[in-house]
């Protein structure tokens, strides 16, 4: 039963991943990506990685998806005018052939490497706490991998600062050359009028 479910979820994940690449509307892409993440979480669960499956749902489906959807909605990208003509014609021509050749070559090399190693049959023996027991995971992360852990936390801090700086609206007033010229002309005219009045008064 679990084996059958694995193959069903693997097929569904592959179809969803293809949907991400082939969908014309970015909203359809993002929903396909969501389906792929859920399929992968199911596969992690079936393979005995309960904690990683939970983290996958929380971080990918919870946080990253919302970020993507928010940006798409903010920029109003379902709109037709943001679809570049090149975007619509991407499924034709030599570039498509080259890209498919590169992807197929990568896939075939990976399959050959896996086939060379050979498939080892698996008995149903799974450890009680799965393959990612959180106690062992915590010991590894705060023991042997403490330095990478701290580096990643620094990276997160730097990212928070970088994102604020990048996405902040530019507050400096824009210098518009046309308006500058118009202002200068208006000032000149006013000065001339004042001179004229003074001349008349004297």
């Amino acid at each position: 039963m679990a084996n059958f479910l694995f193959y069903v979820m693997a097929a569904a994940t592959t179809v969803a991943a293809l949907g991400v690449v082939l969908a014309k509307n970015p909203i359809a892409s993002i929903l396909s990506l969501l389906a792929a993440f859920f399929g992968l979480a199911t596969i992690y669960l079936l393979a005995g990685f309960q904690f990683i499956a939970a983290a996958q749902i929380l971080v990918y489906a919870g946080a990253i998806m919302v970020l993507f959807l928010f940006v798409i909605m903010l920029l109003n990208l379902g709109d037709e005018r943001t679809l570049h003509p090149l975007e619509l014609s991407m499924f034709r021509g030599r570039r498509l052939a080259m890209v498919l050749a590169v992807a197929a070559a990568l896939f075939i090399v990976a399959i050959l490497a896996i086939a060379k190693q050979g498939v080892r049959p698996v008995s149903s023996a799974m450890p009680d706490h799965g393959f990612d027991d959180v106690n062992l995971l915590a010991e590894a992360m705060f023991g042997r991998y403490l330095l990478p852990f701290e580096a990643v936390s620094l990276l997160l801090l730097a990212t928070a600062v970088a994102v604020v700086v990048l996405a902040k609206r530019d507050r400096r007033p824009r210098i518009d050359p046309d308006r500058e010229l118009a202002n200068a002309a208006r000032a000149e005219a006013a000065r001339a009028a004042v001179n004229e009045t003074e001349k008349v008064l004297s």
Partner: protein, 109 residues
């Protein structure tokens, strides 16, 4: 589940190839970022498959958690990449009113 870990690796290879194709094919910057997410997920899946293989082959059923540890690091890196990438998308859209990567070609010439 008695599916061999090699089949998980094959699925990871497929997801990676699809992600690379999307990365090279699409011109919408947001979909390019989604393709990178797919690639990182494929990396995660192969980390976990290798970890499972290693744990099952070890005598006495000793669980080795190096794979899941690095999978968590990859998840964090993916979140960081998405945040910075989307901030760049917003900055590009503010300057060009478009998210097509054809618009961002000043450094090409």
């Amino acid at each position: 589940m008695t599916v061999p870990s090699e089949h998980m690796l094959i699925l990871a290879a497929g997801l990676f190839a699809i992600g690379v194709a999307g990365f090279l094919l699409r011109r919408n910057l947001i979909v390019v970022l989604m393709s990178i997410e797919l690639i990182l997920n494929a990396a995660n899946l192969s980390f976990l498959a290798a970890s499972r293989m290693h744990s099952l082959a070890s005598p006495g059923g000793v669980v080795d958690v190096q794979g899941p540890t690095f999978a968590i690091f990859v998840i964090v890196i993916a979140a960081v990449e998405a945040a910075v990438g989307l901030a760049l998308v917003i900055a590009l859209y503010r300057n060009k009113q478009s998210v097509s990567i054809n618009e961002a070609s000043e450094l090409k010439h």
